[in-house]
Amino acid sequence: MRVLVIEDDRKVASFIQTGLEQEGYSVDVLNDGSSAGEQARTIDYDAVVLDLMLPGRSGFQVLRDIRSRKAALPVLILTAKDSLEERVAGLDAGADDYMPKPFALAELSARLRALLRRGAPRESVLRVGDLEMDTIRRKVRRGDTAIALKPKEYALLEFLMRNSDRPVTKALIIEHVWDIHFDSISNVVEVHINSLRNKVDKGFEVALIHTLRGVGYVLTDTPSS
């Protein structure tokens, strides 16, 4: 997977590059947008991470350059402005996703994964260890035990299982499971994770739901550490 990062701040570009390379991507960095369209055309990238505030050429213009050459290339934009108008403008200009700064690396890679996976068929039965979710019949079982879940718990578990073995941030969970931005002021995610743990992990030998402090949560049967 090859990703083009267009970001004028060298330190930001550097940690994005390091972080994504650690996850197995190969990453090219451009510090301004002048040659972005050309580079996107000549090299076969899988995704682009684009900062909207660039010297010389605005991110919107760069986005148009890329779109005029590669209409389907997934583009994720980064911006230091977090206003709703900015967000709408970015998505209207043809971006596929949007992240305000500062962001979590875990979230950036999760969003990239989602963009890259787009269009791929979604599995109807999800499995992590002995936990199984049938997304057509909306049934969950662990081993031989059927587990009854409330709608939000179900949605949360499905999101965790679709991202199994990879950390997801609270912000991502809120965006996917709740239709509102809780602004992290309520511990609504923690409460649901707790009730999910009570149903999915309690009484079983191996815990599947793990808290990663400073990052978020991960659902896995093979915790790395």
Binding site: D9, K11, V12, F15, I16, T18, G19, Q22, M53, A80, K81, D82, S83, L84, P100, K101, P102, F103, A104, L105, A106, K152, W178, I180, F182, D183, S184, I185, S186, N187, V188, V191, H192, N194, S195, R213, G214, V215, S225
Partner: protein, 467 residues
């Protein structure tokens, strides 16, 4: 009591006009009265002097002799002899009296006749036919004798004329004053109308519409100067707000970039750090603090943008009851985890014209606040009702409550009721400021009623149709 400028102007001009009118009435009346009086006295002198010329004394007996063929003479004598009487000065004896004089009973004593001789001034008497003015004149006749002639002339026509004039003034003056009052009210209204229009126009200008200006008509008058001065002030204000907006946008960018680098690099370090060691704990803790700082910046910038008019609300019909019910449903697990009863009570369908996203934020902040400060086994109730043209949302909790003193400041930025509260939550004290901004942006209001350790009720009122 203060009167409006219009009322004061109208009152002052009415009083001035009234005083002028009263002065004019008094002066014109007294001039007229003196003039008429003078005319009567002059006529009386003419009649008296004329009558003396026609009197003949024949051995002490007076008679009037004139040429009856001369109609002028006849008319004069007829007028002069209507009221007259003649006394012998030395004896005080009445020599002759006219038929008009007889019924008046004006008989003089000898002493009175003597007195008139000394001071022959005319005098007025009142009769049942009106006032009479009577002249006194003493003339000698041949033989050393003298006689007193009294001639009367009626003052009735003068009195009637003056009475009519008084009547006219009595009606006319108040009527004119009333008319003047209306005219003054209308005129001052007319003169002040541009000022009222300017005030209306100025009231429509707020932080979002600072580019608007008062209309300028291009004539150099007092009102124009007010408008120009106001427009100058607006221009300076617009510039200042513009700089503030640029500043907050620049600040956002300048703060976010280093935070992004900080967070990214610490996250990389966290990946490398071994599980459970001190470095990992430190890195995780730093990330939490960075996230807290980021939220704080977000809140401050949202408030700054809101208050400098950079947030445009999109108005559409919003079912407040549905909104409240859906939020209550979503927050139910949070409440349950703390054994708090979270209820939504809806009285009828309440639909307001508003921005759904921001109204949701308003409700969420209030609910979040209520849940934060309510302990185990407490109760949080959201009530949505309608009162005429006003939608009302009450968020009532059985939490720790606020003192009267604190309740007054609860909507101020960064306000924390007391240090003990900070221990409960990490909020920065900006949520309620935003609630207030959202309510006011919908031309509504938010208020709080609270008792320490009994709970608080936050009440939001929103007009169904904000203009």
């Amino acid at each position: 009591m203060t009167l409006t400028l219009r009322a004061r102007l109208a009152a002052i001009s009415t009083v001035v006009f009234g005083l002028l009118l009263a002065a004019l009435s008094v002066v014109s009346y007294s001039v007229l009265a003196r003039r008429l009086d003078g005319d009567v006295t002059e006529r009386l002198t003419q009649l008296t002097d004329g009558l003396h010329g026609y009197l003949r004394f024949d051995s002490g007996v007076p008679s009037v002799e004139f040429d009856a063929a001369d109609s002028d003479q006849a008319a004069f004598v007829q007028e002069a002899t209507r009221y007259y009487q003649i006394y012998d000065v030395s004896t005080g004896q009445l020599l002759v009296e006219s038929s008009g004089f007889a019924p008046l009973g004006l008989r003089l004593t000898t002493a009175e006749v003597q007195a008139f001789r000394a001071r022959p001034n005319p005098f007025d008497i009142v009769t049942e036919y009106g006032r009479l003015r009577i002249s006194n004149s003493v003339r000698p006749v041949s033989g050393g004798q003298a006689y007193l002639l009294q001639v009367g002339v009626s003052l009735a026509s003068m009195d009637v004329a003056l009475k009519q004039y008084r009547g006219l003034l009595l009606w006319y003056t108040p009527a004119a004053l009333l008319a003047a009052m209306f005219a003054a009210w209308w005129l001052s209204g007319f003169a002040l109308a541009p000022l009222t229009r300017m005030a209306d126009e100025a009231r429509r200008i707020d932080v979002k519409t600072l580019e608007r200006r008062l209309p300028v008509r291009g004539v150099d008058d007092e009102l124009e100067r007010v408008a120009l001065a106001f427009n100058d002030t607006l221009a300076r204000l617009e510039q200042a707000v513009g700089q503030m907006r640029q500043f907050s946008t620049a600040l956002a960018h300048e703060l976010r970039t280093p935070l992004t680098i900080l967070r990214g690099e610490i996250e990389l370090a966290l990946r490398k750090a071994g599980a459970g060691d001190a470095a990992q704990r430190a890195a995780a803790s730093q990330i939490e603090e960075i996230d807290r700082l980021t939220r704080l910046i977000d809140h401050i910038l949202t408030l700054a943008r809101a208050e400098s008019g950079q947030i445009q609300l999109t108005f559409a019909p919003v079912d407040v009851g549905d909104l409240a019910a859906s939020l209550v449903e979503q927050l139910e697990p949070v409440a349950q985890a703390r054994s708090i009863d979270l209820l939504c009570e809806r009285a009828g369908v309440v639909v307001v014209e508003g921005d759904a996203g921001w109204l949701r934020r308003l409700l969420l902040n209030l609910l979040d606040n209520a849940l934060k400060f309510t302990g185990q086994d407490g109760r949080v109730v959201v009530r949505v009702s309608r009162d005429g043209d006003t939608a009302r949302i009450d968020v009532q909790d059985t939490g720790i409550g606020l003192s009267t003193e604190d309740a007054q400041h609860v909507f101020e930025r960064f306000f924390r009721a007391d240090p003990a509260r900070s221990a409960i939550t990490e909020g920065a004290g900006l949520g309620l400021s935003l609630v207030q901004w959202i309510a006011e942006s919908h031309r509504g209001a938010v208020a709080v009623q609270s008792r320490l350790s009994e709970g608080s009720t936050f009440t939001v009122t929103l007009p169904i149709r904000p203009v």
